[in-house]
Amino acid sequence: MSTVARVAGPGVAAENPQRLRARRARKRQNLRAALLFLSPWILGFLVFTAWPVIYSAYLSFTDYDVINDPTFVGLENYQRMMEDPKVRLSLWNTFVYTVLHVPLYTIFSLGLALLLNQAGRASGFFRTAFFLPKMTPPVAVGVLLLLLFNGQDGLINEVLGWFGIDGPNWTTDQNWIKPGLVLMSLWAVGSSVIILLAALRNVPAELYDSARVDGASFWQQTRRITVPMISGAIFFVVIVNTIASFQIFTEAYTAFFGSGNTTYSNDAALFYVIYLFQQGFEALNMGYASALAWLLFVIILIFTAIQLAVSRRYVYYEGEGR
């Protein structure tokens, strides 16, 4: 109620007390209605976000296997994490994948968006074609990876063979598993293409007209006008994909992990979230898995902060008046 008094101020104090009361009642009613609409989220936030975050932080200092009560072990989980060679391996794998995936994916989707922007009337058709792979369930993408990148009979190696290239064993050779996953990930580039294309269409045509008058080449126009003008959308694609690739799971898990996988050695595909999942739900080391989750959270926060800082320097947002 103090709010109302402050908002109302001295000028209104002289107001008819009855009207003041009515106004207060209306305000209270308004808040009550708002809270009613917000109640699903507030409830969900408390139960499925706030409590899990707190409890996960607590679990990370315990030893917990679901059956017995958690026992407090202090920093043991975090110490173990430092020494666990699989943590190092999975972090390395995830890092390599991200470093390969994000730039390639961004450049590829930018190239396709630029192409689509030149496609004229047929762009709708091509856009559909580019987007369809994005609809494929990631499990099926994992299956397709095993099929298309099969070292002996896969389509990829057959096509490479046309050019006289002897393709590697993408799905079994430890050195080629991550590159294979990255190439497969480029197939599902569709949504980024659409985001970048939408940004391209918002670039004012006058900029190109005047550039053309000045005799700028296509390449110059792309570098000096297009890329800066859509840098906001490019940055969005980069940041979303970085966060997603830190959490890569389904495609790699489908293709290289699971019960009874005796076929492939899978060290090269052990990504961080896969290891976390194994610890949490296969080995039931829920305390240790919680600690792993917090490390992931911190890593993602740091990388996002770095990217935000970098973007302040390079990204141009229209109407910012810089």
């Binding site: 308004n30 699903p40 299956v143 009979d153």
Partner: protein
């Protein structure tokens, strides 16, 4: 996104509506130029066609392989040398495909309907009402989007476990009863794009909060609601992580979880029966392709708006 969000939101709904129109009316820059087959143009068309083949061919390959007998799955022929429907018969016998499809459909429909309703309610709460602390609360909504799922995954499992619901389909969708940050954000932007005078007028005419929301705001937000439904339909249909965590018995599997089980059984488990895995993959994927063609325009517009927001 702090200060610009509100204005951006207002402009958004109209921008999306206008986008389709612009696409229809004004031809892109390339088209206004006289149409001579310049070398650049030939290059552009060639690249477009090549990339289309790259994107589409894996589907064609997969569907074609599902009609080939076991020995020919890998022959990379476009048209099967021996055409057979046996794989479809066999996969139906080896695995409870119909049951898996039904489970997936139940989860998917419940997930997308509940998340659309709850997110719309919450989004309206943030868009229409003005109250103290609204900015902070909405900031909290956005903050939850940054939180990796891995952090909440284990305690969330423990909640469902304590409720005795692990092993059932409930944990796969019931979290959606409470709205989802991304859709709340998306729908709020659309609500903010609606002219406020509309609601004031209705209020003067005696409409209450619920009527304003249900009869005026919701019908005007239909495109965004469809986008939410479609996005969540796809997300729920294709999810593997949660079925892996919550489902043990194969009779409760969703189709992606079932496909993974088939990969384990007919792949890693022994000899590779690729024909079964290929066929199950087709069955898992086809509903998503149909979904895309039903809601293509909404998918494209929905994705385009998520990118122009940030």
């Amino acid at each position: 996104m702090s200060s610009g969000t509100l204005d951006a939101g207002r402009a958004d709904a109209s921008r999306v509506a206008a986008q389709a129109e612009i696409e229809a009316r004004t031809p892109p820059a390339a088209e206004r130029r006289p149409k001579r087959p310049t070398p650049v143009r030939i290059l552009v068309v060639t690249l477009l066609v090549v990339s289309t083949i790259v994107f589409i061919y894996p589907f064609v390959w997969l569907v074609s392989a599902s009609f080939k007998p076991r020995g020919e799955v890998f022959d990379n022929r476009l048209v099967p040398q021996t055409f057979t429907l046996d794989n479809y018969v066999q996969v139906w016998q080896e695995a409870p495909m119909a049951l898996w499809l039904l489970n997936t459909l139940i989860v998917t429909v419940l997930a997308c309907v509940t998340v659309t309703i709850s997110s719309a309610l919450v989004a309206w709460g943030f868009a229409y009402f003005r109250f103290r602390g609204r900015g902070v609360l909405f900031g909290l909504v956005l903050a939850t989007m940054m939180l990796p799922g891995a952090v909440t995954m284990i305690p969330t499992f423990l909640i469902w476990n304590a409720l005795g619901m692990t092993g059932t389909l409930t944990p796969l969708w019931a979290g959606n009863l409470f709205g989802s940050a991304f859709y709340i954000f998306l729908l709020r932007q659309f609500f903010l794009g609606l002219p406020r005078e509309l609601f004031e007028a209705a209020r003067i005419d005696g409409a209450n909060n619920w009527t304003i929301f249900r009869r005026i705001a919701l019908p005007l937000t239909k495109p965004a609601l469809v986008v939410t439904l479609l996005f969540e339909f796809q997300a729920a249909w294709t999810d593997l992580m949660r079925p892996l965590i919550y489902l043990r018995d194969s009779s409760t599997f969703t189709i992606p979880r079932g496909l993974k089980a088939l990969v384990d059984q007919f792949g890693f488990g022994g000899e590779w029966h690729w024909e079964i895995i290929v066929t199950a993959s087709v069955i898992t994927t086809v509903p998503m392709i149909i979904l895309f063609f039903l809601g293509q325009r909404h998918f494209v517009e929905g994705i385009a708006t998520t990118g122009t927001k940030g």
